[in-house]
Symmetry: C2
Subunit: 385 residues, 2 copies
């Protein structure tokens, strides 16, 4: 692989100095990767004005696909929303999947994960399920959205609306951005474009005044919680201020369950933040003692039960895995995906393969070694420091 490219041109495109660019290389903030014949640089962290997940394609014009910015969280609805927004607030549902940016570069559709890798699995699915003429006409746009459903290798979570003949998987656009400067289209324009091009997209639940938003959103959150869904993203109609997110009790507990099943692999911050959210929600929603007790019971069970389940599993001699059922259209797609997993340094175990016509249905286990090893050690008498 030839590794020469003009640092000067890249720095100019990214609007940083050559010195800073070199620094980013030295600190290993930038890594080089390729997908098919497309080589690209990838920012593994936020650096200067450049978002984590930003990609510079090493073609002649050095096309850029900027990283999707972090969405901050409101711990309280009031006064956070009132303080943050200008006037009106658009309420959209937050879907529980994985963030994807779709762009077209040199006639090739690419689907990038949050961290900036071109995911061959997702790229295939996006091309299969979406008609992407929009990117012929608006080559400088990227379609940002959530890939949801049970049959994906990142966040397997069932959605009714993701169901099709073959699998539970779908892509919903929630943002269209200029891929070189990360500017979002106003929400109206995004909705119009999605409708014109017949693209699946997230629709606003409501548009409200910022002063009343907390009341409306509280009701929406309660409803979404009852439907076992994740939460909301709040946006300025013109996308002039950054969006905010707020999630349901249901998803906080789901996250806790996951965290305590993979208890030595997921970070303490992950666990702690979910619990904190529950505290502020319980306070803000002004629960009666009975409701607060129900919330506490949910939290306690979400922590204890998955943990004991994991310990019991290891005690039986098994290892802790997270299982994904994926559908591939060919052996070649499957092997491409396995190469990608290897590149991502995921340790996976193929648990089952079913072939139907040309299609493959594969059950894959992502192995959580740290959790498996540590539980085993403690069960064998290792001391806790």
């Amino acid at each position: 692989m030839v590794k020469t490219y003009s640092l000067e041109n890249i720095a100019r495109k990214l609007n940083i100095s050559i010195k800073d660019l070199n620094k980013a290389f030295k600190k290993k903030i930038i890594r080089e990767d390729e997908f098919k014949n497309i080589r690209y640089l990838l920012f593994k962290k936020n650096f200067k004005n450049i978002e984590k997940g930003t990609v510079v394609i090493l073609n002649e014009q050095l096309d850029i696909i900027r990283g999707y910015p972090k969405t901050y969280r409101a711990l309280t609805l009031y006064p956070t929303i009132k303080e943050h927004f200008i006037d009106k607030v658009v309420i959209e549902e937050k879907l529980n999947g994985y963030n994807i940016r779709v762009a077209k570069i040199d006639d090739e559709i690419l689907a990038l994960t949050r961290s900036g890798y071109v995911c061959p699995f997702t790229t295939k699915k996006v091309k299969k399920y979406l008609k992407l003429e929009i990117l012929d006409e608006y080559e400088h746009y990227m379609l940002c959205g959530e890939m949801i459903g049970k049959n994906n290798p990142y966040v397997p979570f069932y959605y009714e609306e993701a169901e099709n003949d073959v699998e539970n998987l779908a892509f919903f656009i929630f943002d269209i951005k200029e891929r070189e400067n990360n500017r979002s289209l106003p929400i109206k324009d995004r909705l119009k474009l999605c409708e014109n091009y017949n693209l699946p997209h997230v629709r606003p639940i409501d548009i409200v005044d910022k002063d009343k938003a907390h009341e409306v959103i509280k009701d929406i959150i309660i409803e979404l919680n009852n439907k076992r869904r994740e939460g909301v993203v709040l946006k300025d109609p013109d996308m002039s201020v950054e969006p905010l997110k707020y999630t349901t009790h249901f998803i906080n507990c789901q996250d806790l369950k996951e965290a305590f099943y993979f208890l030595f692999d997921l970070g303490l911050d992950f666990m702690f933040s979910r619990v904190i959210r529950e505290g502020f929600m319980s306070y803000e929603f002004g629960e009666c003692l009975e409701d607060r007790e129900i919330r506490a019971i949910d939290i306690g069970k979400s922590i204890l039960f998955p943990m004991v389940e994991a310990i019991e599993k290891v005690a039986k001699g098994e290892r802790i895995t997270e299982d994904f059922e994926l559908i591939f259209d060919s052996e070649n797609d499957f092997s491409e995906f396995l190469d990608f997993m290897r590149k991502m340094k995921m340790i996976i175990k193929i648990k089952n393969i079913e072939r139907k016509e040309d299609r493959l249905k594969v059950l894959i286990g992502k192995v959580y070694n740290k959790t498996s090893d540590k539980i085993k050690a403690y069960l064998e008498g290792a001391l806790w420091e």
Copy 2:
């Protein structure tokens, strides 16, 4: 304060090289402190063979008081105890107070906290409540024990057996060590000495074969849990291997309550470790679903309720404090204690003072600024990153 002392002599007494001693000074592992006219060096961390909390008195003979070693924890009773011990296991109750070493240096009784500071409050109380002739005869011993009861500035936890006419505070010896080399007396010898000198001490609950210990201890733990007590420390009769500890569900939940009341001050490790203990206990005790649910409810409530209580308190404009009621025998004792708190960089607030005869009853609040400030910020609309 004259700061000259012979590094060579100190290094020799500590059995480390001068080079290492200098390194410890440079890395600020050693700090200098004084109590009355006694100057001493203090190890703030484990360093080489020297335990955290080790003190070198800067007198002519450079007396040493070694730090009390960390007691490791069994996450499972079986097979941990069987693997760890030689033959017999002495089961003692673990009291929930603070670890103190008492030594006599140059005719002065000193009570050192775990971290190695001479605590004026504790020194006074130890001298008041104990007859310490033993240290005249055995000048090279230190009495290691737990200071327990509601009326102390570190771990205010009520014990029936700590009650006296004036306050709820008592000292129980659980170990006698040679203070210069940290060698423990065999348990029999410790018990005999304590009885001869009429010193309050922790008595063995039972002595069992290591192969059966887990069964006996499980029953003891269930009983201690019902009595709302902390747990057990397991020891080799000759103190030839390090002790182990194991705690009750009750105290795990107590710790969680504390952690989530002071939610941004106590470390995540503190919270996480308590929860992990519950997981292994629930597994090992082979609970039925009903009992496991009760445990989960206790955990959930111990997390959510104190957290909401703290948020409600801050929402009302108050700050989060931990309150201690302390008894001082004179104004001078009180002011000495305040100086010590200042030195420890504790932020305290005097909430009330009652004077009775010569005695002072003082209500002191330890202020948790980080918790107070962060909750306030989130209530005012700060975003969660």
